[in-house]
């Protein structure tokens, strides 16, 4: 993998400490044909996500949205929301951050993974000061038109255990470890 200089785009503390190399720990990633669907126990993510104003603003800027409720602290403070309100797709950085490198669900980092579409339910918008933890478990695994789909259910809670959102996270993956290793070498590890 070529060296991309992501550092010039870092805006938050979490971005500075999060590893940008999805290849490094790939041998620890869950693989489509190895996941034990007999064990559907829900587990915690590797870490929690303490929401700061810089996190909410950075995500809005990253998806090119200048909505002042998401980006302007003074404006949002004077609004009925009484403070910044996150873009609904803020679940994305929360999931990647909390899943981490070694925890269950780390297949979302698989080089070669493809996103077919997603399903998200928001129960309560994310706010500055909340500390989010995730609980996740295998949800479904199927083959359709030669593509291998994996789905996990990911629930997000704040520090008071109030459920904030649920995502059914779905990706199309290389089906075996050998296929994934091909992608690590820059080869196409798929036959569809």
């Amino acid at each position: 993998m070529s060296r991309i200089n992501f550092e010039r785009f870092f805006k938050t503390e979490k971005q500075k400490e999060f590893s940008t190399d999805f290849f490094m720990d790939a041998e620890d990633y869950e693989v489509w044909n190895e996941i034990d669907f007999a064990n559907l126990e829900e587990v915690d993510g590797e870490r929690t996500f303490e929401i700061k104003a810089e996190d909410i603003k950075a995500y809005a800027e990253g998806c090119l949205d200048d909505n002042p409720f998401m980006t302007d602290e003074e404006y949002a403070k004077k609004s009925p929301y009484k403070g910044l309100i996150a873009h609904p797709l803020f679940v994305t950085p929360i999931i990647f951050y909390c899943v981490g490198k070694k925890g269950r669900g780390n297949w979302i980092r698989t080089p070669g993974a493809r996103n077919p579409g997603q399903e998200i339910e928001i129960y309560d918008p994310f706010r500055v000061g909340e500390v989010i933890h995730i609980r996740l478990r295998p949800y479904d695994r199927y083959i359709k038109r030669g593509k291998y789909y994996l789905r996990y259910k990911i629930d997000m809670y704040n520090q008071q255990n109030i459920k904030k959102a649920t995502c059914i996270s779905t990706l199309i993956l290389p089906p075996t470890r050998e296929d994934m290793r091909k992608f690590l070498k820059g080869q196409r590890g798929l036959t569809d």
């Binding site: 971005q15 998806c63 993974a113």
Partner: protein
Amino acid sequence: MTKITFDSVQTGQELAPFTKKVNQEIFWKYAVASFDYNPVHNDPEWVKTAQPFKVPYTVAHGMMTMSFMTSVVTNWAYPNMLRIRKITSKFTLPVAPGWTVKCTGVISEKHVISKGKNYVVVDLKAENQEGALLGVGEIEVVFPD
């Protein structure tokens, strides 16, 4: 601004579009914002041979396209204190660097339940500058009245 009420919205009503031109630098910035460093979005050298989408160039994060589609609704919902409850999406064509992504939304359903539970469904689509369909989505928006 006139406050939007549940009674005032109608099926067929179009929301203001959300349109952005994207490029590799925007893909990198989104990778940083989302923590999604999948090389299919970020590494032009790797993707020349790896080609997960069978194309030799990087493609936008699906979650960025989904974020763009969602912004159509948040631009309308947030100023009016409406609550976004459920978002679903399906991606139909990978987005290449240099494309313009135009997202549009139409209120397709109006669910008359009770005060505080009434909601609408907004049908969304994302197209490129040539009208090719990039993705579709649905968002449920709950009204306070």
